[in-house]
Symmetry: C2
């Protein structure tokens, strides 16, 4: 038991729930005290691995007055119904990205805040990465000069592994494929780094041999209110990368992350790369941070 920490529950006990639970166990500010999944198998595995009790129905978790909020790690199309249930119980809502699988559901989730007097937070964890924050600092300090151009990519090979048993196979559950699964992180990061976005265009392609409904390649161009432009790429069928490059009139900054360490966020910095390139001297003059 941590003293003074906020007690929360977690609904949805898959892989990402375990990543977040391990991370939360290292924080003095939050304590996950109960988990729920429809699957008894997942409940038992979670209890065993995490040493945290699970409950056989969501109401058992929501009726606990000690629990102030709930982390949602359920598939995207369940974000709205589960968030609604949590909000009606008067608990704060944290849901993993993307906020929902349709714009309509996203707006309904947003409306829960005023309707039930709670807060909803969407887990765009990537903007919290150390390199992203250092880039934001450099931009705000005018170290790079006027920012004119940004490029980001988040790719991995998961579309080669998905099966009809998983929700990521289906268009209605994971619209856009890597757009809503991977690129979504970079949209949030580029919004954080660059401000208001006014125009978007996108192309996609389906090239995986497995036969899933969803597209597996995605490229998007963005235009910001101030005229700068940006690109976000996400390939879902290749050994992947996670990178953001910011081009300014005085300097270029590049951040690249070894996402093989994605599931152990406290070790991510060990293998990530961040550099500034200044002036005309090409990358012979890069300063690694």
């Amino acid at each position: 038991m941590k003293s003074g920490s906020a007690k929360v529950g977690i609904i949805g006990l898959g892989r990402w729930a375990r990543v977040l639970t391990r991370a939360a166990s290292k924080s003095p500010k939050i304590e996950i005290v109960a988990g729920y999944s429809r699957s008894e198998e997942k409940r038992q595995a979670f209890e065993q691995e995490m040493g945290i009790p699970s409950v056989p129905d969501a109401q058992a978790l929501l009726s606990n007055p000690d629990i102030k909020g709930v982390i949602l790690t359920v598939p995207n199309e369940q974000h709205l119904p589960v968030a609604e249930m949590v909000a009606k119980a008067g608990k704060q809502v944290y849901t993993e990205k993307p906020i929902a699988n349709t714009l309509e559901s996203a707006l309904e989730i947003e409306a829960l805040e005023s309707r039930h007097g709670i807060q909803v937070m969407v887990g765009h964890s990537a903007r919290l990465l150390k390199g992203t924050r250092l880039m934001k600092e450099a931009i705000d300090n005018d170290e790079l000069g006027a920012i004119v151009f940004m490029e980001a990519n988040f790719s991995n090979e998961r579309a080669l592994e998905i099966t009809p048993d998983t929700w990521r196979w289906y268009k209605d559950k994971a619209p856009g494929g890597p757009l809503s699964q991977l690129a979504i992180h970079q949209f949030d990061s580029l919004h954080y780094l660059g401000g208001a976005i006014t125009e978007v265009s996108s192309i996609a392609s389906k090239l995986s041999p497995v036969g899933a409904e969803v597209d597996d390649q995605s490229m998007t161009l963005l235009r910001y209110a101030d005229g700068k432009i940006a690109y976000v790429g996400a390939s879902w069928t290749s050994p992947g990368i996670y990178s953001i490059r910011v081009f300014g009139q005085k300097g270029l900054m590049h951040y690249e992350l070894d996402f093989s360490a994605w599931d152990t966020p406290d070790r991510l910095h060990e293998t990530s790369l961040l550099y500034i390139q200044r002036g005309k001297d090409g990358y012979g003059k890069r300063e690694v941070l």
Copy 2:
């Protein structure tokens, strides 16, 4: 005098003419024997620096029966009239990229081949870079598996330096700004690496404080006949890069070039980077070539 080499002339004696002349001096296959520019100052500077005679009018060069071909290093909008003059004299034409500043002029240049029985070659030198050729080999040998996705960028800071005295300032002479000046190299490289392109869309922005007519930021999305997609970015107002990344189902290959060595092609390989990343292990498992 080199024996057995092809003798050629060069028209347009600016910076790039000197780069090509220095490169040609190292080849046993070609010998530049005369240069021409409208500017007497440039003719004298070229003679002095290169030790190669210049001629005071183009006809003096074109009437020399020893000269079998002419290298064009004139501004883009002069490619057509100069190529026409060279072709009419029965000489082979080599012109720097892009082939012309409009599609119509490009098609007229193409037509010179059959009309005058000569050959026209466009100087897309980047596809000859060692890294580009090694990527092509890896693709052809199926080392990367099915290629699904490509990204390329060629950027530099030149738009911060252009003035109304230079042709690159003007929309009709350098349409698209970095699109026709920089991205053009990557379009050729991606065509070489990926085959037939069937769809293109592009955005641009003008953000340089100098006030030139041309845009200075360019992003383009491509779709190939086989469904794979690609991106080409070119910022013209930032410390820049030259990079190509090819995503395949078995491996990802990345090539990046320190273009501060761009003017000394024989030294480019010293500071360039080429790696393959295979499997799921992130860039901890990158193999530098």
